[in-house]
Symmetry: none
Subunit: 412 residues, 2 copies
């Protein structure tokens, strides 16, 4: 009998449309990858009656119930208490959790308030699920014979850490003995999701072999999962090779890594330094590069030259170049890249200038037109991009293309 | 009696995590705006049994059920048929819809296939909901006394056109006059979620008066919602004033606006220009400022000076200052702010230099130490901050504090 899962997402922000729920999609993808069918996703607000209704419906359909949200210390964080009421159990304080909460607050110099102890209360008999990146631990509790309820923090990064660190390993351990899971991640650049789908669709996969996707623009991840006995490993290797053959250069990494991490690794490996001159991306490329711990080893700095005067004063772009060709031009991009490279002494420099919109476009240079230059000591290369969508999508797309171009340049 | 809605989203792509469902958030927001509470959101795959399960659960809880997906012409588009089975009704062809489908295909030169007629079949007695931007019309059908099921296309732009063009006007026409929703948003800076909770907890609220929180670090939102008759407006006004009294200066806005939008509005209003010199925040403040459409009207540009050489060459920080006081010091921050202001001519300049970690800290200057300066033509002010948490939290916290300090400075 194959297990069925039900995912619960809770919070008034979901039932009032203030926030788009991404947690349930992440959980669904992980479960799908290991061959567990998601029977339903339920979302309800922060109300005990509604939560109980959802627990009942989830238990009726699912063998594994995974929920998120409402574990915080505030009055509207009602989940744990409501689970205890639903099961007719009392709440007990876990002294280990209580102690580590206190220590955590002390270490950070945050004043301790007693309501934080709420996060150390769990339904009696629950197994605690550690939260390696936040204050609120989760828990797992049996809700009927063979049926378990697992509850995680609603903060996406905490939820993912708990899911991958504790929940998925536990789920694997409860799977039938013969079952092994082989899983491979392919990070994709330069394809839309539907194009990716149509490219891999012709692959002949058995019921134990699955392809799953995760799209969170500009990030696109393809995962191959093969479950079964030891012999299935051959099938996994064969299909991985098939994916490499079909997708070729669209695969930029075969592990769960971001584009900026790839660029960082390559810069470190080559002992190169980087400098950036950004206009339309407004500092996002710099932000993505510096989000990586240790980036100060290879990133020297950047200029965000939004106004023409900044391009002139910071980077030495000639006023005549701006007049003759405009701010969004190959000539301006070239002078920006030279300016930043000379002023920082970086081994590699990237410049970006374009029109993010919504205004500022013309027939000749529509919104989404972006020029980029990569300059090194002895050479430079120019590229013209045309991005589509709204302002945010153009900025995100341009930052991804810039990082990918840096990556491919560093690979040579 | 207040009406409760249930939203259904269907499709295998939702239960396998391939796609994040945005339709349900759009529908929830529209319903919330007209005072209809969403009791639950249910998502199931394209399977008749699961659809029926969802119809049953939705009918049990909701007076209005709004569903999306599965109205297309292909074999796995099963919704309409399954609704008919669920209600024990036969399917009848609507000849007006059939005719307009044929015309639509002819007009576009798309070959007509008989399976397209599937989109002209509806459960007997259903009201057809026109689809102004796609082929598949939706329908509304009574599923129990006083309970209606409304089904729309799952393609977001079609769904929105049908929702705004037909569904919301119909819902408004069925509303009782007496029920009103009063809702106020308070954006919070400088409090943790638990501290905020302990401050507002003493407020005496009735069952019709609710406080809800949304925390997405560094963003923190408090919402007061009061439902009831016209007279409840007084209660809403009274509680709003109470919140203002309790939270005072921690409230930075009373509408759903980001800190960077507040700063942008103030810069526009004062006709000021802004420049930034960032070190540890790595370009994030610049990124946040430029995320706002129209920011080029007030944002001149910035420097991300990660390396000491960049601080010297870009901003004219003196090598002796760096040697004597270090990169993370009031003296360096001051020279950074002067450098950026002079080079851009901005009316207001902000500099940020600190230690984001994980490495680079010392006993004297632990990880999280951040100096900031705000410089204007005739004056400057320095502040020392101590942030806590991991690298990302320190960077996010520093960007929020920087923007808030700009905001309060601009208010004077």
């Amino acid at each position: 009998m194959k297990k069925i899962a039900v995912i619960l997402s809770t919070g008034d922000e979901l039932t009032t449309g203030k926030v788009v729920d991404t947690n349930s999609a992440v959980i669904a993808e992980r479960l799908y990858a290991v061959g567990i069918q998601v029977g339903a996703v339920l979302k309800v607000g922060d109300e005990p009656d509604r939560l109980i209704w959802a627990f009942e419906r989830a238990r009726e359909l699912g063998d594994i119930i995974i929920g998120t949200g409402g574990l915080g210390p505030t009055a509207d964080d009602l989940t744990t208490e409501t689970v205890a009421n639903f099961l007719g159990r009392r709440m007990v304080r876990d002294e280990v959790v209580a102690g580590s909460l206190r220590k955590r607050f002390e270490a950070r110099g945050i004043p301790w308030t007693e309501n934080n102890l709420k996060q150390a209360l769990f339904p009696e008999g629950a197994n605690i699920i550690p939260n390696p990146v936040g204050t609120a631990p989760g828990f797992r509790v049996s809700v009927a014979p063979g049926k378990d309820l697992i509850w995680l923090s609603g903060v996406p990064q905490e939820m993912i850490a708990m899911l991958d660190g504790s929940v998925m390993p536990w789920i694997s351990s409860t799977q039938e003995k013969a079952t092994e899971i082989y899983s491979g991640t392919f990070k994709i650049y330069g394809l839309t999701e539907s194009k990716l789908d149509s490219l891999v669709k012709p692959m002949a996969l058995s019921a134990q072999e699955r392809l799953s996707f995760r799209a969170h623009f500009p990030d696109l991840t393809l995962r191959l999962t093969v479950t079964g006995s030891d012999q299935e490993k051959d099938a996994f290797v064969k299909h991985s090779e098939e994916i490499r053959r079909i997708l070729g250069r669209y695969i930029y990494a075969e592990r769960d890594v971001t584009m900026e991490e790839c660029v960082g690794h390559l810069l470190l490996e080559k002992k190169y330094t980087l400098a950036l001159a950004e206009s339309c991306t407004g500092g996002l490329i710099s932000r993505r590069i510096t989000q990586i711990p240790g980036s100060s080893a290879y990133y020297l700095g950047g200029a965000v030259t939004y106004a023409n005067e900044a391009k002139i004063n910071f980077l030495g772009v000639k006023p005549t170049t701006l007049e003759k060709y405009g701010a969004v031009s190959e000539a301006t991009a070239l002078e920006m890249s030279r300016g930043i490279r000379e002023r920082t002494g970086a081994s590699i420099a990237l410049s970006v200038t374009g029109i993010a919109g919504p205004s500022g476009g013309s027939v000749e240079k529509p919104v989404g037109t972006v020029w980029m230059i990569i300059a090194q000591a002895d050479r430079h290369e120019a590229r013209l991009f045309q991005f589509h969508g709204d302002r945010e999508r153009i900025i995100l797309g341009a930052s991804q293309s810039a990082l990918n171009w840096l990556r491919t340049t560093l690979l040579i």
